[in-house]
């Protein structure tokens, strides 16, 4: 039979917004999703290691930190889902015909995400709500939960890569239409995945640094320890990620590597800025490690890391467009913006953000004034 690639037709109903707007929203919400995921997964892994070290060395510092992380994990897991739903929407409008098809090929692993997520999420709540009672079991509970969440990332990467490679679909589907396939044989999947997960440790390391900075006012030695510990969690994974990033780059098909080497001006510039910003943040953190007043360096380092992440997201986007370029012609996509509804969305989004900020301010901003007649 013929070997041509099968791609489902674009939906006959027109796209209700300009493509650029959808892409901006996709990339923006995806960045936020990944940042939240970094704290949820990286934080969980750091908590597990910290529990282990605390027990081994009988170190109160470690337990102080893991107690604090335990309280952060459930809310950041909630943010990960909430901020994941939004890119899931925009991804479907923009790339639905690719995304649905690849998802069907790995249907059961894809659905398993839900079950895995629920288990891991309740695991985090267990760790958080029963921290004292769990004692010796804390290490296992948080480790398993974090690893489960990390598995979800692996399923995601497989799908996000599979949707970009329609050449493979036909063989996979006609050999196995039951939706039990995986996409681990693609040489880019593992390095791409590790790149995300190791970065998660580094970003969660920044959260540890922030915790240290906050503690310094109450307990100086604990705070200083936290800052150093956090900086190490930033530096070591980031150094490792230079190697993994390189591995990811060379695992790509040749013509895509060249995109970042001058062939595509955007991709190249993003790549250069990303590298530069990463080195700046690394150097600043190295200096902060042995500095008496590390605060300014840390803050600037963080800004540069954020810049690195944003550039990486943009590079990833250019890569996707390049993968799909033979199969997707944006000029052929019919667009009929629903400006009225878009306006309502934007107004409500702003109102929603204001509401959430107001609630956060009320909850954490002022000293709590508990009612004198405590009823319970």
């Amino acid at each position: 039979m013929e070997t041509q690639v099968i791609i489902p037709d674009i939906d006959p109903i027109s796209v209700p917004a300009p493509i650029w707007l959808l892409k901006i929203l996709l990339l923006l919400t995806f960045t936020l999703h990944i940042l939240a995921m970094n704290v949820a997964v990286g934080g969980g892994l750091i908590a597990a290691v910290t529990e282990f070290l605390g027990k081994k060395n009988n170190s109160q510092n470690h337990f102080e930190l893991s107690r604090s992380i335990s309280k952060m994990l459930p809310p950041f897991t909630a943010f990960t889902i909430t901020l994941g739903v939004a890119p899931l929407l925009f991804l479907q409008v923009l790339y639905g015909n690719f995304f649905y098809t690849s998802t069907i090929l790995i249907a059961w692993p894809w659905l398993s995400i839900i079950v895995i997520f629920i288990l891991a999420y309740y695991g985090y709540y267990l760790y958080s709500f029963r921290w004292e009672k769990l004692e010796g079991k804390r290490f296992v509970v948080v480790l398993i939960s974090a690893l489960l969440l990390a598995v979800i990332g692996l399923i995601y990467t497989q799908n996000i890569v599979l949707m970009l490679t329609p050449e493979k679909w036909k063989e996979i589907y006609f050999n196995n239409p039951h939706g039990t396939s995986l996409n681990l044989s693609d040489p880019t999947v593992i390095p791409r995945y590790l790149h995300f997960m190791v970065a998660a440790l580094a970003v969660a390391g920044l959260v540890v640094i922030m915790w240290g900075i906050k503690k310094i006012k109450i307990n100086e030695s604990l705070g200083k320890w936290g800052i150093r510990y956090g900086i190490l969690w930033f530096i070591v994974p980031t150094l490792l990620n230079i190697i993994i990033g390189l591995w990811f780059l060379i695992s790509l098909p040749k013509n895509f590597i060249m995109l970042f080497m001058g062939e595509n001006i955007y991709a190249t510039v993003y790549f250069m800025i990303a590298l530069l910003a990463m080195f700046v943040s690394l150097i600043l953190m190295f200096v902060a490690l042995n500095s008496a007043k590390p605060l300014a360096k840390i803050i600037i380092g963080k800004v540069f890391l954020l810049l690195t992440i944003v550039m990486m997201v943009l590079m990833r986007h250019e890569l996707r467009e390049a993968y799909l370029q033979p199969y997707l012609n944006w000029d052929k996509v019919q667009v009929e913006p629903q400006w009225g509804v878009i306006t309502i969305f934007i107004i409500l989004l702003l109102a929603g953000i204001v509401t959430v900020i107001w609630m956060l301010k009320k909850s954490f901003g002022q000293k709590s004034n508990v009612d004198p007649v405590e009823l319970s």
Binding site: A78, W110, F345, L348
Partner: protein, 431 residues
């Protein structure tokens, strides 16, 4: 025709969506009604200076948080996942029409999640007034997310003027928008009471339970009486054919509806007797039974609502097998095998006829008939010969079951019939 087909063994994709959706609906309606329950109960506790109720609502809010934020949110994502897998073409259509509706719903979802976490974490940290405001914010956001999603869901059964105008608002404010919203809101309040009854048996000590149970029952009883009224309103807003199906056009649908009504009556009686009058007798077991019965009512309701949409997934726009009605004539011309992207056999000949029939069945029928599973095809054809089956397929819309018109060629109908008839032959051999 456009996407590969993923066959779910035994239960079929329709039921998979159904199961996930029912679990989600059971939690998400609680997430709305339960929000109102939390704030009103908190107010009551302050007003009467009642430590038992206050302690109860605090603990209830922990259960509420753990159930809605984890299970509720993820089963919601699960619906997304399953409809995309089972009905990619329909999901794609909905997302193209309503992506901004969903984006708006997402804003409310976001506020909801933040509010419910803060509500729980600030019980003893904030003054009463601010804490209550956060509770109200939660409830309003949850209610509004229902107000939005209801537009999209009701659209599938009654797209109304959208079919001609293709306008967002015509699709959103469709003929069953208000009536189905009313059903949902009343259900949400009933759910709040049913959950309240159950958690009371776990949280409140037996001797203090009376007030809490009686209070929760008041959320169930009057609204259980309103539920049939709004359901009837919903029924009257339906188009003719769905009405006909509900009244017995497909026997299992009307049976399901009747079971739902009987169970509803049962819940009312149990709550009236044990939750309101004889609260001493209301045990954990009864709480769980009421919960399961409540789940079955929802189950019945959702099943009926899904079934009366046959043979469409989006009424008058798309059949449940993904075929877009506008494209029917073009497909009929060349047949389903040639139109479909994900089949290997395009031309039928004597050698591949059976295989072609298998493919044709998968394409056109497997969204409603699973071989050896849900709506099994084997018993439906057991007494028929090959020619009769082929004839039926060509005339599909005129048999029982509210099936779609057949978009395949006569050769394709014969191929499907040949493949199906094989089951009858196998059957005979066994006997």
């Amino acid at each position: 025709m456009n996407y590969p087909i993923w066959e779910v063994p035994i239960i079929g994709g329709g039921w998979l969506i159904g199961i996930v959706a029912i679990i989600h609906v059971f939690v998400s309606h609680f997430a709305v009604g339960g929000g109102l329950f939390l704030v009103l109960t908190e107010i009551k506790a302050y007003k009467n200076n009642d430590p038992i109720i206050l302690n109860y609502v605090k603990k209830h809010s922990k259960f509420f948080l753990l159930l809605t934020i984890v299970f509720g949110a993820l089963t919601g994502v699960a619906i997304w996942f399953t409809i995309g897998l089972v009905n990619p073409q329909a999901t794609s259509a909905l997302i193209h029409i309503f992506v901004w509706g969903w984006a708006i719903e997402w804003v409310f979802f976001f506020v909801e999640i933040a509010a419910v976490m803060l509500y729980y974490y600030t019980w003893d940290k904030l003054d009463h007034k601010t804490h209550l405001i956060i509770g109200w914010i939660y409830f309003i956001a949850a209610l509004l997310s229902m107000v939005i999603i209801n537009g999209i869901l009701s659209f599938m059964l009654t797209p109304g003027k959208w079919i001609e105008t293709r306008s967002f608002w015509d699709g959103f404010f469709n003929p069953t928008y208000l009536s189905s919203l009313a059903v949902r809101i009343v259900t949400a309040i009933v759910m709040a009471g049913i959950y309240g009854l159950l958690t009371a048996t776990f949280i409140v000590e037996k001797n203090n339970r009376h007030n809490v149970l009686k209070y929760s029952s008041k959320w169930v009883l009057p609204f259980m009486l309103i539920l049939p009224v709004v359901s009837l309103w919903y029924y009257f807003t339906l188009p003719d054919i769905p009405k006909e199906i509900a009244l017995g056009g497909i026997s299992f649908v009307s049976q399901t509806a009747i079971i739902g009504i009987i169970v509803g009556f049962l819940v009312f009686l149990i709550v009236l007797i044990f939750g309101y009058f004889n609260t001493r007798l209301f045990t954990k077991l009864i709480g769980i039974v009421v919960m399961i019965l409540g789940l079955s009512i929802m189950f019945a309701g959702e099943r009926v609502r899904e079934s009366i949409r046959k043979p469409y997934v989006i009424y008058d726009y798309m059949y449940s097998n993904g075929l877009i009605i506008n494209e029917f004539d073009v497909i009929k011309e060349q047949g389903i095998l040639k139109s479909a992207k994900w089949v290997e056999i395009k031309e039928i000949n004597e050698e591949n006829k059976i295989q072609a029939g298998k493919n044709g069945f998968k394409l056109y029928c497997s969204s409603c008939h699973i071989v050896g599973g849900y709506n099994d095809i084997k018993p439906l054809i057991v007494d028929l010969d090959e020619e009769t089956i082929a004839m039926m397929i060509n005339d599909l819309e005129n048999y029982r079951g509210y099936m779609p018109k057949f978009a395949g060629t006569e050769a394709e109908a014969e191929a499907i019939a040949k493949w199906l008839y094989k089951f009858n032959l196998e059957n005979k051999k066994e006997q």
